[in-house]
């Protein structure tokens, strides 16, 4: 584990001092000095693992994410509250696998936490190595709803990526995937095989429109599993990636 650099420790100390000040409710000189001492002691006694953050916080992205998050929170709360009080049979649900674009621990965690806070979606399982979230969605009645739920998770992740300033550096369809140290790039998939979010097999254009994201997601997951177990992905699948 790489040791934290001085600026990184300063950020940690600042964060703890901020909480300390909020707890005390005032910002007198003694409170601040006491907070700094306690924060440094806490860091020395309980050194936390380093969380790599390979982006740049985009203020506009954060505002956009917060606004969308609050909107989702209100809409979804009302929806689940209605599901609870409406007469009729219990609502159906589904467990949906969503492959994420970013594979860093930080982004998986942020996405999963935001998902968990929004009603109607609940992270049942997170596959850290393959960057797949398994999300329990309530109030779905058709496969189209399932696809919409999957798309909503991807949109949420996109907003987080945008807010943390890594979206521009993530590969899109057809780009080769390179390993980078900042953890934002998909270091665990082989070159050119992973991270196909929307590309559907060429033959599927004649099928119903909502089949495409499903197939792309399923294939994406298969590719990631294959990458992990070391088995080769069939050449025709590679072509589409």
């Amino acid at each position: 584990m790489r040791r934290a650099t001085l600026p990184e420790r300063a950020v940690a100390v600042l964060g703890m001092v901020a909480v300390w000040l909020l707890l005390w409710g005032n910002a007198g000189p003694f409170t601040i000095v006491g907070g700094v001492v306690v924060a440094i002691l806490a860091l020395m006694v309980f050194p936390l693992p380093l969380v790599p953050f390979g982006g740049r916080v985009s203020p506009l992205g954060v505002v956009l994410f917060t606004a969308c998050f609050l909107r989702d929170l209100v809409l979804a709360s009302a929806q689940v509250a209605w599901l609870a009080i409406r007469p009729g049979p219990p609502p159906a649900s589904a467990i949906v696998a969503v492959p994420l674009r970013a594979t860093s621990d930080l982004h998986i965690t942020l996405t999963a936490a935001a998902l968990s806070l929004i009603p109607g979606s609940l992270v049942v399982e997170a596959d850290r190595d393959l960057a797949i979230l398994y999300v329990h969605v309530i109030g779905v009645s058709s496969m189209a709803d399932v696809d919409e739920a999957r798309a909503a998770v991807v949109r949420l992740e996109d907003r987080i990526l945008h807010a943390t300033g890594v979206s521009a550096r993530l590969p899109h369809d057809g780009d080769s995937v390179e390993r980078t140290r900042d953890g934002a790039a998909p270091a665990r998939t082989p070159e050119g095989s992973g991270l196909v979010e929307t590309a559907a097999p060429a033959g599927s254009t004649s099928t119903k429109h909502h089949d495409q994201p499903v197939r792309a997601a399923e294939r994406n997951i298969q590719v990631r599993r294959a990458a992990q177990t070391g088995t080769a992905v069939r050449a025709d699948e590679e072509d589409h990636a």
Binding site: L22, A92, L117, I118, L122, A126, Y134
Partner: protein, 114 residues
């Protein structure tokens, strides 16, 4: 005027908590209930805290309320995830209510890592 807004927020938050309680009784299985308990609670609590902050207006009290909100937002997802995960892996949920379960094949593929 501020008091009116505070009252509206607190009543709104209270209603969401009531809906969460109703859902706890009416939803059929643990995974569905998690949606009700962990979620409307979040917005309900935020509304009530905002209402309280508008009524109290004392910086010391307001900063405490902010901390309550921050820690609630930070801890609720973790708790919800752990409960949901263990519920799924011990089969304490209604499979017949799921229209799709994309996790089942994955779990079956691998040795359980409970």
């Amino acid at each position: 005027m501020i008091d009116v807004i505070a009252v509206v927020l607190m009543i709104g938050g209270g209603l969401l908590c009531v809906a969460a309680g109703v859902a706890l009784c009416r939803f059929p299985d643990l995974l569905s209930r998690m949606h009700a308990t962990a979620k409307p609670q979040v917005l309900g609590l935020l509304l009530i805290l905002t209402g309280c902050a508008l009524r109290l207006r004392d910086p010391v009290d307001v900063t405490t309320l902010v901390l309550v909100a921050v820690f609630q937002l930070a801890t609720a997802p973790v708790a919800a995830h752990m409960v949901a995960r263990s519920a799924y892996r011990t089969n304490r949920f209604r499979k017949d209510l799921l229209i799709v379960d994309e996790l089942a094949p994955t779990i079956a593929d691998r040795a359980p890592t409970v």
